[in-house]
């Protein structure tokens, strides 16, 4: 059923084991919802070691993403992700706009329908690489990468081990969450938190926290049907 339009599958999220356009739209809707729910928490994390606007900026950005998806409904998974990424770059500003925007765009450019689990894992990896390249960040710098890189690894290992999609997402979400928590004792080497030097130690990185949230949304959406 390579590249078949979703109406043939009734708008379901899975089609013969592959992820549909509807799945990716639902993922972004869930991200927008969760970012809104966690807006104050993300902003509070940012207040400790940044400038107290991470939750507000992402909320604004993903609200715009949903608007753009509604204005011109995408017909392929890649279109969903590229549209989301472009909107984030054009609307958010700061570092998080270009970083998340580039991640979604790179993912979108990398997915080929039908999106198998292996295809998703490879696209996710492309997104993480885009963040690492643009932000010049590596694991251990106390950034988004500390949540995204372990999630990407978990997705790849799940493919290798033949673990199902939903369980793979659960493993990725757990890895991202642990990765985000692991930023607490780190000293920031990138972004605004790096200006604090040793004082950045003891706080969870807001970017890693929002990244973990975004990965966790994969679980919520894949659990629905």
């Amino acid at each position: 059923m390579g590249g078949s339009p979703d109406h043939e599958t009734g708008g379901g999220f899975m089609d013969l084991g592959t992820l549909t356009t509807a799945f990716f739209v639902a993922w972004l809707e869930e991200i927008a919802e969760q970012v809104r729910v966690h807006r104050e928490r993300l902003t509070a994390l940012d207040a400790a070691i940044g400038d107290a606007d991470h939750g507000a900026n992402l909320d604004r950005g993903f609200t715009e993403v949903l608007k753009a998806l509604a204005d011109s409904p995408p017909t392929a998974p890649g279109q969903v992700l590229v549209s989301a990424g472009t909107t984030l770059i054009r609307r958010v500003g700061g570092a998080s706009g270009p970083l998340y925007g580039s991640a979604f765009r790179a993912m979108g450019n990398a997915v080929e329908p039908p999106v198998t689990q292996a295809g998703f894992a490879a696209a996710f990896e492309a997104g993480v690489v885009a963040v690492e390249r643009l932000g010049k960040a590596a694991p251990g710098d106390k950034t988004m990468v500390d949540a995204l890189a372990p999630a990407s690894l978990a997705l790849a290992l799940a493919v290798r081990d033949g673990v199902g999609v939903r369980e793979a997402f659960e493993l990725a979400a757990r890895a991202a969450e642990e990765g985000a928590r692991a930023t607490i004792p780190m000293q920031a080497r990138k972004g605004r938190a790096s200006y604090l030097g040793e004082r950045s130690i003891g706080h969870e990185d807001p970017g890693a926290a929002s990244s973990a949230l975004i990965v966790a949304c994969l679980v919520t959406v894949s659990s629905r049907r």
Partner: protein, 326 residues
């Protein structure tokens, strides 16, 4: 915390509407602030931008002798590439455009993306990173751009007004940055409209040393002290990084919430410190220029002048935030 706003969401646009109403010399469209007079053929265009909340930087420095356009972002959030592309294209008088970018990850990323998208305009960039509180190393995002941004915008703006080519304007802008150092101290945190409460708690008995301009905490916390002692901390940090000698351009900048009277108290100490080092305060500026909303505190920025830079600093300027000689 009380704020004189209609809503947090509309604060940036409402403030821009006020700027437009107050200053007929500006034209404001789609979150870009331009000179109403438009681009001048053959003159290098100067575009800067950054988060809102630092007023008068940058929009208040649009006008003759300084910027051609400014791109304000959300509060403490860099502008988006679309704004920068729009501004760059609009102010190009055929001689190219200089982007003046403060060294923050967000500003750098968005200006880089915009520069790539400006295919039909020759674009050069200068990165301002004058804050000595941050060690420029592999372990930080590099030094922050703070008070020296004003010096770069003024001096490069004067040179562009004289008709100098893009490469020369960019080179002098880089030289101003290389000759400038800053250090800031906060007496209080600041309150963004969206958060509605101070970004961090700072007891009455303590100050933050080595702050940036986004209400982020500084490098260390220290006991509150006299203006003389606090000024000495800032001046020592600068002097250790770039020894104070020769003719100096000195900015004593308020962070937004400190009365001018107190800034003058601090400036007297700055002047005494410079005399003590045997250097000469050739030019000076005291006031709120690169601010952090309602933060109380100050920063000192010092540039080691030469004859050319002094002449360009003295050149006429006519903007809402800075004007003389015209």
């Amino acid at each position: 915390m009380k704020k004189l706003i209609n809503s947090a969401e509309s604060a940036v646009d409402d403030a821009l509407a006020g700027m437009a109403a107050a200053h007929p010399s500006l034209r404001i469209r789609d979150r870009v602030v331009y000179r109403a007079s438009g681009p001048r053929a053959g003159k290098v265009g100067l575009v800067s931008g950054g988060g809102s909340g630092h007023e008068p930087l940058h929009a208040g420095f649009v006008g003759y002798g300084m910027l051609d356009a400014a791109c304000p972002g959300e509060v403490f959030t860099s502008p988006v590439p679309d704004q920068i592309v729009e501004a760059t294209t609009a102010v190009d008088g055929g001689a190219g455009v200089l982007h003046i970018v403060k060294n923050y990850t967000g500003d750098v990323l968005n200006f880089e993306m915009a520069a790539e998208l400006c295919e039909d305009v020759q674009v050069a960039g200068v990165l301002v990173d004058d804050d000595v509180a941050v060690q420029d190393s592999l372990y930080t995002a590099g030094r922050r751009g703070t008070g020296a941004t004003l010096f770069v915008e003024k001096i490069a703006g004067a040179l562009a007004e004289e008709g100098a080519p893009l490469a020369e304007v960019a080179s002098v802008a880089g030289e101003v940055n290389a000759r400038s150092r800053s250090f800031g101290i906060a007496l209080t945190s600041c309150t963004t409209p969206a958060a509605g409460k101070p970004t961090f708690d700072l007891p009455d008995t303590q100050v933050e040393l080595g702050i940036g301009i986004h209400g982020e905490p500084g490098r260390i916390r220290a006991p509150m002290a006299s203006a003389r002692e606090l000024t000495e901390i800032a001046m020592d940090a600068i002097d250790r990084d770039l020894p104070l000698e020769g003719d100096l351009l000195v900015l004593l900048n308020g962070m937004g919430g400190t009365p001018l009277m107190e800034l003058y108290v601090a400036f007297a100490e700055v002047a005494a410190f410079i005399r003590g080092k045997g250097a000469r305060m050739a030019r000076s500026l005291v006031g709120n220029y690169v601010t952090s909303l309602d933060m109380q505190g100050f920063s000192v920025t010092i540039c080691r002048l030469d004859d050319t830079l002094t002449r360009l600093w003295d050149a006429p300027v006519e903007t809402p935030g800075l004007r003389w000689g015209r």
